[in-house]
């Protein structure tokens, strides 16, 4: 039996966001925008989904009068990512379906 893949992480943009955040302490919206190459609207939607699931924490503040959104992994998100990577590895070890 295979583990089910976490549907929330099994999405290109959300997985990209999580993969960036897992390797840093925190990153702001413009950094994620630059690294993922996504559109602002889409990025913002996916960040909210991850936040609602409790995978990342989002802090809103201001920098020179512009809104600043800083994202950071939560312990729950780290566990979810680890489980996702384990599940993917399990699939890849199996030679064929």
């Amino acid at each position: 039996m295979f583990k089910d893949l976490d549907a929330l992480l099994h999405n290109q943009l959300r997985l990209s966001i999580i993969s960036i955040l897992i390797s840093v302490d925190s990153a702001d919206f413009s950094h994620l925008l630059e690294k993922t190459g996504a559109t602002k609207g889409n990025l913002s939607v996916q960040i909210n989904k991850l936040k609602d699931a409790g995978y990342i924490s989002v802090k809103k503040s201001f920098r020179k009068n512009y809104p600043l959104t800083t994202c950071k992994m939560t312990p729950k998100g780290v566990t979810a990512f680890e489980n996702y990577v384990d599940a993917i590895s399990a699939y890849l070890k199996k030679p064929s379906e």
Binding site: Q12, L15, I20, D28, S30, T36
Partner: protein
């Protein structure tokens, strides 16, 4: 619409995103150069003023060190405003050097209160910034800083045994080895 991902694509995304975050080593040389020059100026001018037998020969220290703290706070605040991403290394460096600042302040306060002897405080501080430099070199994977840290410890051991005024010259030497040389090498690299 959500596009379906294959497992290979998933792994590819993870690899690619982690790789782009990894090469984010920032130019950390500013603080090393700032403190390197300030400590060098303070220790050498203290030494010269002692030779001139001025009774306030220590005065370059409070002036230059407070100046350094002010510049560091302003520069740190400005850099913090500009950075879009904080790596684990950045965070570790901040805690390491703030912790170092706290330890130095405790030592200096105790010396001012007469609980510690100034002659031993100087080499102790050299030992401690040797530690900070050594750890920084390790996490930044930058050998000149690691070697600079080790040099500090050797110089500090010597400093415990020499005449007090020569401790100032050893302090100057240690800061050249631990901050200035690695600082300029770090700057030229990035």
């Amino acid at each position: 619409m959500e596009t379906k991902l294959t497992n290979e694509e998933s792994l590819g995304i993870i690899h690619q995103m982690i790789a782009t975050s990894k090469n984010n080593l920032k130019d950390n040389s500013f603080f090393f150069l700032l403190w390197g020059w300030l400590v060098l100026a303070a220790s050498l001018s203290h030494f010269v003023l002692l030779q001139l037998q001025w009774s306030y020969a220590f005065l370059p220290w409070p002036i230059l060190m407070n100046l350094g703290v002010i510049i560091s706070i302003v520069a740190g605040y400005r850099m913090g405003k500009k950075t879009k991403v904080m790596s684990h290394i950045d965070k570790m460096m901040i805690y390491l050097w703030y912790g170092f600042l706290a330890v130095i302040l405790i030592l200096i306060s105790m010396a001012l209160l007469g609980r510690l002897n100034w002659i031993t405080v100087y080499p102790t501080i050299i030992v401690l910034y040797g530690l900070g430099t050594f750890v920084s070199g390790g996490v930044l994977k930058f050998k000149p800083l690691i070697l600079g840290g080790i040099a500090c410890w050797l110089i500090a051991i010597t400093a415990f045994f020499v005449q007090p005024q020569y401790v100032l010259l050893l302090t100057a030497l240690s800061i050249i080895m631990a901050y200035l040389i690695p600082g300029y090498l770090l700057k030229s690299k990035s």
